[in-house]
Symmetry: C2
Subunit: 122 residues, 2 copies
C-alpha cells in the first residue's frame, strides 16, 4: 500500500483538506521512534539489514524490522535480496524527504540544541 493509498483510507479521520491529512500523516510517520535514525542511515546510501543494526546502536531487531516494513509500506524504502541478506535503499519518494529532514534539523539546531548547550554551560 502506498502512502497515498493509506492516506486515502484515513481521509474520513480528517474533516478538512487533503493537505492537513497529508501533513499529519507524514509527520506521524517520520516522528516515530527510530524512523529518523533509519532514514538518516539510508540517506547515505543502500544499507544491508545487519549493517543497519550496527549503524543504529540500541535498536532492537524487532523494532528495526517493524520500522523498515512501515517505511516500505509507505513507499519510502525499497528492499531487495542480496545473497543471504536484504539490502534496503530509499525510493525516489524517500530520497525526496531529505529537504524535510534538513529543515527540521536546521530548526532544531537553531532553537533546541544551541539552547540546550547554552543552558548546560550557563
Amino acid at each position: 500500500m502506498t502512502s497515498a493509498e493509506r492516506l486515502h483510507d484515513r481521509a474520513d479521520e480528517f474533516p478538512d483538506s487533503p493537505y492537513c491529512a497529508a501533513f499529519q500523516a507524514t509527520l506521524e510517520l517520520l516522528g516515530r521512534r527510530w524512523t529518523a535514525a533509519i532514514m538518516r542511515a539510508l540517506f547515505a546510501g543502500p544499507v544491508r539489514f545487519n549493517e543497519m543494526g550496527r549503524l543504529i546502536p540500541g535498536i532492537s531487531h524487532r523494532l528495526l524490522t517493524e520500522r523498515l516494513a512501515e517505511l516500505q509500506q509507505a513507499g519510502l524504502v525499497e528492499r531487495r535480496e542480496d545473497g543471504a541478506t536484504q539490502l534496503y535503499r530509499l525510493s525516489e519518494q524517500g530520497r525526496d524527504l531529505r529537504r524535510i529532514f534538513e529543515a527540521v534539523e536546521a530548526w532544531n539546531r537553531r532553537w533546541l540544541v544551541e539552547d540546550a548547550h547554552a543552558r548546560a554551560s550557563g
Copy 2:
C-alpha cells in the same frame, strides 16, 4: 568509502544524540491532530481565540485550548489579554517553523496529493 564508513564518521549524530531526540520531539509536536491547522492560521498573523474556532471549522473548544496550551509551553505561541478575549501569535521560534511546513507541504503536494488526484481521476 562505503556508505557504512561514511555513516560511521557521522556516528555522533546517531541515534541517542540530541539531534535525534530533538527531531522526534519536533515532529511529534507538529504531528498532533489540529496542530498544523492552528499553526497555519497563526502564520497569517495574530488570531483571537474566538476567531480561531471560525478559522478551523470542526475543532472543539476543548481541543483548541489544549493544543494552544501545548504550543505555548513549547515556546512556539505567545498569548496576551486583549480586552475580554485572548490574542495568540507565533513567537520568533514559532514563525521560524515556516520552512519545515513548506518543506512538508511541497513533499506532500508532489507525492501524496497529486498521487491521490491521479488515482481519483484514473
